[in-house]
């Protein structure tokens, strides 16, 4: 009893075991709910999947109909003494069961796409990763140095930040048509949208992080003979790098959200196009499989980067676990 109460002490870290168990539960619980809704016939299941049309002329095997409609037709058939339709409770087509999604997940990598002009899932994925990667790299090449300069020198901050502040309110998708007009229809305009979506936030986030550096460190460095460039490169940059690294992980997540718009301009391609396409054909198991892949890629990149961070920055091992 007192043990569980301690779980709700504010900001108290749990012991390693409960931490691990809870971490696993955070995935198991949603999966459990999904399974319950999918496999227990009396939970939700607002439709009936027809297995045997019986005497109902417009029923077809495999069709999903409203439960009330099915009941009404069954009653009618019973009254007329005609063969009754048979069916099982079902969920709408947009909520496939876990095993169907798992199957789609497997088939997406192993079975030839149904239509000739369709791409394999992994080809769509590769397109998306290409766009995200270059969008994020180009944004960082500009945004990182500019953010650090703005956070270090008031001159740069006053010169750049008001405009950046204004620009970040302009919605990136609004630049879609312009990007296509200038950059053509292939990957370039998509990359441009990611850059526009990420860069301005990045400058502001990085400059704010830079400003959080303890000024006493800069003063100490000055009394040790550091000045100008050595202050910037030997104190500011190493002093903020761990926090900047964390910012970059979060910003990379944001870049993914701009992918959706980016992939719908010019010639459509990539994972979001795959999703849109599959949804149009009502292959919702594929849709879920693709969404899950995005989640898996996102989470595993982040875990990888977190792990890498602990290796590169050994001095913050104490706080790295947070």
């Amino acid at each position: 009893m007192t043990q569980t109460l301690q779980w709700f002490a504010p900001r108290r870290q749990l012991a390693p075991r409960p931490r691990l168990v809870l971490g696993i539960m955070s995935f198991v619980l949603p999966l459990l709910i999904w399974s319950l809704v999918s496999y227990v016939p009396w939970i939700w299941h607002p439709l009936v999947e027809v297995t045997e049309p019986g005497s109902v002329s417009y029923f077809k095997a495999g069709q999903r109909v409203e439960r009330e409609l099915f009941a009404a037709e069954t009653a009618k058939a019973l009254e007329a003494g005609a063969p009754q339709p048979q069916g099982t409770p079902a969920n709408p087509v947009y909520l496939p069961a876990p095993h169907e999604v798992l199957q789609a997940f497997y088939l997406a990598f192993t079975a030839e796409p149904e239509r000739r002009n369709e791409k394999w899932l992994h080809e769509s994925l590769a397109d998306s990763i290409y766009v995200i990667f270059w969008g994020f790299v180009i944004s960082s090449i500009i945004g990182l140095p500019l953010g650090i300069l703005c956070g270090t020198y008031d001159v740069f901050s006053r010169l750049a930040e008001p405009f950046v502040e204004f620009f970040r309110y302009l919605p990136a998708p609004a630049f879609g048509a312009l990007a296509v007009a200038i950059l053509g229809i292939y990957q370039a305009p998509k990359i441009a949208i990611i850059v526009i979506g990420t860069l301005f936030q990045q400058i502001l986030v990085i400059s704010n992080t830079t400003r959080k550096l303890d000024p006493a460190l800069l003063e100490a460095a000055q009394t040790l003979g550091a000045r100008r460039l050595s202050l910037l490169f030997r104190v500011v940059v190493p002093g903020i790098i761990t926090d900047v690294y964390k910012d970059m992980r979060i910003l990379l997540g944001w870049a993914w959200t701009y992918l959706i718009v980016a992939e719908l301009i010019g010639t459509s391609s990539g994972i979001t196009w795959f999703i849109t396409q599959q949804a149009r054909y009502k292959n919702f198991d594929n849709v879920f499989a693709a969404i899950m892949i995005i989640g898996i890629i996102g989470l595993s990149t982040d875990l990888l980067l977190a792990w890498l961070g602990r290796r590169i920055f050994p001095w913050q091992r104490a706080e790295a676990r947070a």
């Binding site: 003063e219 460095a221 040790l224 002093g239 001095w315």
Partner: protein
């Protein structure tokens, strides 16, 4: 305090022959730092605030000077001006007779807040200034190790600051400042955040170091015992505005040891500092300072009174 006054204490101005002789020789030494008519005003939203007014003093080579004063009297402002981290509103600052502007490695500084670079190991922290001075990597490394040895932390050369205790961090900070071989070591309440035991240990370390190397120290503290124990001379400031109240020559003979904390000279100096820093207040100020308390203990409480 009351107990002290029961004994007949000598005047803090009385010096034994050895002490008087030592001060005479000390005054013959070359001047390292000279402060002339220093003023500092801060512009605040409530108008200008005078933090320091007309501060003048000199420190001689290898002298240990403590600066003491009530909180807010401008001690940190003074030392930050000496370090070049603030600019004085007016006045002159001479190091070895030459005017100095801006921070530089000729004036080492140890701050109260721990300012080791968290991304560098102990050794790299100490190497920082040496590398800025253009020393080669190997030479810097070798020299840094000597300074780390001096503060007794050779075993921790590869540790990161977050693995060290507060006292160890300040020892590294001292080594880091000394590695540049500054003309003067400025210390702003460096042991203020340490517990009493560690603080006492750090004081003896610092005395040991000061005895053995060529360094002049300007040390800020608000701890009277610390000031008397460490200093040749104590610069007493008063608040609002910060002005020099007195420059006391500490009559306690050198070398110092903790036993002297109860010697008549020590107690006499302590009494004088108490008078300067906590002057007897008049009744008006006293009543203003008092809490307006109402008795909030049940009448039938089992503990009737704490006395």
């Amino acid at each position: 305090m009351t107990r002290m006054q029961q004994f007949e204490l000598p005047s803090y101005l009385e010096q034994s022959d050895a002490v008087r002789d030592r001060f005479a020789r000390l005054r013959q030494r070359p001047v390292v730092l000279e402060v002339k008519g220093l003023n500092k005003d801060f512009e605040t939203s409530h108008g200008p605030v005078t933090a320091l007014r007309d501060i003048s003093f000199v420190t001689h080579k290898r002298e240990f000077v403590c600066v003491i004063g009530p909180s807010g009297c401008g001690k940190s402002t003074l030392i930050r001006i000496l370090a070049g981290l603030e600019t004085p509103t007016s006045g002159q600052l001479l190091l070895d007779g030459r005017a100095v502007h801006g921070p530089g490695p000729d004036r080492g500084m140890v701050f109260q807040s721990y300012t080791l670079f968290p991304w560098l190991t102990v050794k790299k922290n100490v190497m920082f200034g040496l590398e800025r001075a253009g020393r080669g990597r190997l030479a810097a490394e070798e020299e840094a190790m000597q300074w780390i040895e001096l503060v007794g932390l050779s075993k921790f050369a590869r540790s990161y600051p977050h693995q060290l205790s507060g006292g160890m961090k300040q020892r590294v900070a001292i080594a880091r400042a000394l590695a540049n071989q500054p003309r003067i070591l400025l210390m702003d309440e460096p042991f203020g955040a340490l517990d009493a035991q560690t603080r006492a240990k750090m004081q003896s370390y610092l005395m040991e170091i000061w005895k053995n190397i060529d360094i002049t120290v300007l040390f800020i503290t608000h701890d009277l015992d610390e000031a008397i124990y460490l200093a040749d001379r104590i610069l007493v400031l008063k608040a609002h505005p910060g002005e020099v109240q007195e420059l006391i020559e500490v009559p306690v003979p050198q070398p110092r040891s903790p036993e002297q904390l109860l010697s008549p000279e020590f107690l006499a100096t302590r009494k004088r500092l108490e008078e300067l820093i906590h002057p007897p207040q008049d009744d008006a100020a006293l009543s203003e300072d008092h809490l307006n308390m109402v008795r909030m203990v049940a009448v039938d409480d089992e503990v009737e009174s704490v006395f």
